[in-house]
C-alpha cells in the first residue's frame, strides 16, 4: 500500500509521469495559491470518488459503469465547488471555470477505471491520496517556478481570508528582471517541459537501480 502511495509521486506522478490532467495544470500553475487550492480540491474529489466507486464496484453493472462513475464524480465536484464558493470566495474566483472542470479531469476518471473499480475501498483511498498529492506536488513545483520568475516574489495568502498573508518571499534586487512570459501559457509549457524531462531522468535512474538489484 505504501508503494501505491509512493508511486503517485515519482514513478506514476499523474502529471509528470502519466501526463494526465494537463489542461488544468498548465492553466492554473500561475500562482502558489491557485496550485495548492486546486491540488487539494482534486485530492479531495479523488479520494471520495475512489472510495465510493470501490464500495459499489461489485453491484455496478458493467454496461453502465462509466455513466455511474461520471455521475458520482460530477456530484462530488459540485459539492466541493459549492463549499469553495461559500468558504473561500477568493480562491473560487481565481480558479474560475477550472474548478467545475475537475469533472473531466482525466486523473479522476482514470483512477476510477484503472484502480478503484478493481480494488478495495481502503487501497483506493490510499491510491487517491497518493495520486492527488502527486498532482498537488506537480502543480506546486510548476507554480513556484512560474510565480517567482514572473513576479520575482512569491506570496501565499490564507485561502479562508484573502487579506491575511501567510507567507511572502521576494528578492527586491531582481525586481527589474521580471519575466512576464512565465505568467502566460508559453511559460507554462516551458516550465512543464523542464520538469517532465527532470522526472524522466529520475525515473530512468530508478529503473536502472531496480534492474541492478
Amino acid at each position: 500500500m505504501w508503494n501505491n502511495f509512493k508511486n503517485g509521486f515519482i514513478k506514476e506522478n499523474p502529471v509528470f509521469g502519466l501526463y494526465l490532467g494537463m489542461c488544468s495544470t498548465l492553466a492554473l500553475s500561475t500562482s502558489l495559491n491557485n496550485a495548492i487550492g486546486m491540488g487539494l480540491c482534486v485530492t479531495l474529489v479523488l479520494i471520495c470518488s475512489n472510495v465510493l466507486i470501490s464500495l459499489i464496484r461489485k453491484i455496478t453493472p458493467d454496461e453502465v459503469r462509466i455513466p455511474v462513475y461520471i455521475v458520482i464524480i460530477a456530484t462530488l465536484v459540485s459539492i466541493v465547488e459549492m463549499f469553495v464558493h461559500a468558504f473561500m470566495p477568493e480562491l473560487y474566483t481565481s480558479l474560475g471555470v477550472f474548478l467545475s472542470l475537475i469533472v473531466v479531469n482525466c486523473i479522476i476518471l482514470g483512477r476510477a477505471e484503472a484502480f478503484a473499480s478493481k480494488n478495495g475501498p481502503l487501497a483506493s483511498a490510499v491510491d487517491g491520496l497518493g495520486m492527488g498529492l502527486g498532482y498537488t506536488f506537480a502543480l506546486t513545483m510548476i507554480s513556484l517556478v512560474r510565480e517567482f520568475l514572473a513576479n520575482m516574489s512569491i506570496t501565499f495568502y490564507n485561502p479562508f481570508n484573502a487579506e491575511q498573508i501567510l507567507f511572502s518571499f521576494g528578492i527586491e534586487a531582481l525586481e527589474p528582471f521580471k519575466i512576464s512570459l512565465f505568467s502566460s501559457s508559453v511559460g507554462a509549457f516551458l516550465t512543464f517541459a523542464c520538469f517532465a524531462a527532470l522526472f524522466a531522468v529520475i525515473r530512468k535512474h530508478m529503473n536502472k537501480k531496480q534492474e541492478a538489484k
Binding site: 453502465v64 455511474v68 456530484t75 459540485s78 459539492i79 459549492m82 464558493h85 470566495p89
Partner: protein, 168 residues
C-alpha cells in the same frame, strides 16, 4: 428487457442519490454564498452610503443588464447596472435612488470607453449636473461627441429606473 430495466433503475437510483446530496449541500452553502457576494459588493456600496446597513433585494425582472439591487435600510435603493457604449466591455455603474425615486448618487465602477471622449460622461462635474437630482420622469443630459457612451448611460438609467420603480 429485464436487463435494460435493471440498468436504468441502477443509474436512476445513483442519480437520485447524488441529486439529494447536491440539494442538501446547496441548502447549507447558498446563504453563505449570498452573504459573501454582499460583502464583496459592500465596499462599493459604502462609497455611496458610508457606514450604512445594506440588504440584497431579489430582482425578479428579466433585464440582463440589472446586476443587483440593494436597499439601504429605509433610505434608498441602489441598482447595479451595466450597459454597452463604444467599447465591447460594458460600463458598470451603481445608481442610488432616494425614497422619491430621484437619482441621489451615481458611481461608475468600471468602463473602457475612449479616454477624453466617452470618458467625459464620467467626470464628476458632469455626473453631478447631468444625472444627480433628476426625478423619475426627467430626462438626463447627453455629451455631444460622445453619443454612444451617453446613450449607454441613458439606457442604464432607464433600466435602473424601471427595475426600481416596481419597489415603490
Amino acid at each position: 428487457m429485464k436487463k435494460t430495466l435493471s440498468l436504468v433503475l441502477f443509474l436512476g437510483i445513483i442519480s437520485a442519490l447524488s441529486g439529494l446530496c447536491i440539494g442538501y449541500v446547496n441548502g447549507i452553502t447558498e446563504p453563505l454564498i449570498a452573504a459573501n457576494e454582499l460583502a464583496s459588493e459592500k465596499q462599493n456600496l459604502e462609497l455611496m452610503y458610508p457606514g450604512k446597513e445594506f440588504i440584497t433585494i431579489d430582482y425578479t425582472g428579466d433585464d440582463e443588464n440589472i446586476l443587483g439591487i440593494y436597499e439601504v435600510s429605509g433610505e434608498a435603493y441602489i441598482v447595479k447596472v451595466q450597459g454597452y457604449g463604444y467599447s465591447s466591455t460594458p460600463i458598470v455603474a451603481l445608481i442610488g435612488f432616494d425614497t422619491e425615486g430621484t437619482i441621489s448618487n451615481l458611481i461608475i465602477l468600471s468602463n473602457q470607453e475612449t479616454n477624453g471622449y466617452g470618458s467625459r460622461c464620467f467626470e464628476e462635474e458632469f455626473i453631478n449636473t447631468a444625472y444627480i437630482g433628476k426625478a423619475m420622469d426627467e430626462d438626463v443630459d447627453m455629451v455631444s461627441g460622445a453619443t454612444l457612451t451617453s446613450t449607454a448611460m441613458q439606457n442604464m438609467i432607464a433600466a435602473a429606473r424601471n427595475a426600481v420603480s416596481a419597489l415603490y
